[in-house]
Subunit: 173 residues, 2 copies
């Protein structure tokens, strides 16, 4: 088990694109999704993720905030494909770009499909209050805003968000 | 992935006990349990199982019947314990006895706690219609009776069953 300490930000502009080291396509779905969590019928999300020729099953405690208990196990790609096709309600597709700033890796997820238009930068930290670089392209923090959780983007994708739900975007960090 | 083909029976008497080869204690809980499945908010149960010094995460399609898609992954024991303690609603405890009859292994689960009194024999088969031995201690088949599913024994344990729910017991195979 790990405690995942993750902070999540919108992007203030596109300047990060010139610094991308590598990108990969990710498809993920949930065996336990947002509806079961919201109904209090589960205490953790269970995610199937496929990234190129690798795949994982991931269990993440359903607590809102920066630090969450997380368990992750590599699984065969064909089994991930079977679970995504038959046991998940919807599949989230995104391109993950890796950008390194002063030794810190930002994972910038550019969503597709019903979530096209949404771009979110994540960093994993060793402590909740750990310092990290703040490049000029880093926008508002949305770590505690649950509508940005990937698990919630399946049932309530970005294209269906109201103007009010998108209001924070573009604001300075 | 495997297709699990499993048939489940009650026990007509205790004669199987003299043929037990080995027994082990099992504790298991569910990240996706019966309530989420019944509410249609998940398509698979997700089980954490601890048996001695081994543990697994198991994903099983939530279809009633004999053949079900199943995915199983070994996980560290300490992670299983952490998930059972913090992410599962209740833990099912049982002793699993292994009994071999003419080369076929019967797994006989003797439940404890709120399910004490319930004993169920399971066999895994290569095909739905595969032949298997029928020793005299094998009782009624309950393969398609969902109240006997382990996932359902958490929220609706055997001790709370009505006389009607227990009615099939003891009938001949």
């Amino acid at each position: 088990m790990a405690i995942e300490i993750e902070r999540k930000f919108l992007l203030a502009n596109d300047d990060w694109r010139v610094a991308v080291e590598r990108s990969e396509s990710i498809a993920q779905g949930y065996l336990v999704g947002a509806q079961a969590l919201r109904a209090g019928l589960a205490h953790a999300s269970v995610r199937v993720r496929l990234a190129g020729e690798r795949a994982w099953l991931n269990v993440k405690a359903a607590t809102a905030g920066i630090a969450r208990a997380e368990f992750e196990y590599p699984i065969p790609v064909d089994e991930a494909k079977a679970m995504l096709a038959t046991l998940c309600d919807g599949v989230l597709e995104k391109t993950r770009h890796y950008v390194r700033v002063d030794g810190t890796v930002f994972e910038i997820d550019e969503f597709a499909g019903e979530n096209a238009g949404l771009v979110v930068a994540e960093i994993e930290l060793a402590a909740v209050d750990a310092a990290f670089p703040r490049p000029s392209w880093l926008g508002s923090e949305v770590s505690t805003q649950v509508r940005y959780y990937n698990v919630n983007l399946i049932a309530h994708p970005y294209r269906q968000w109201s103007p009010g739900e998108r209001v924070a975007e573009g604001a300075a960090c």
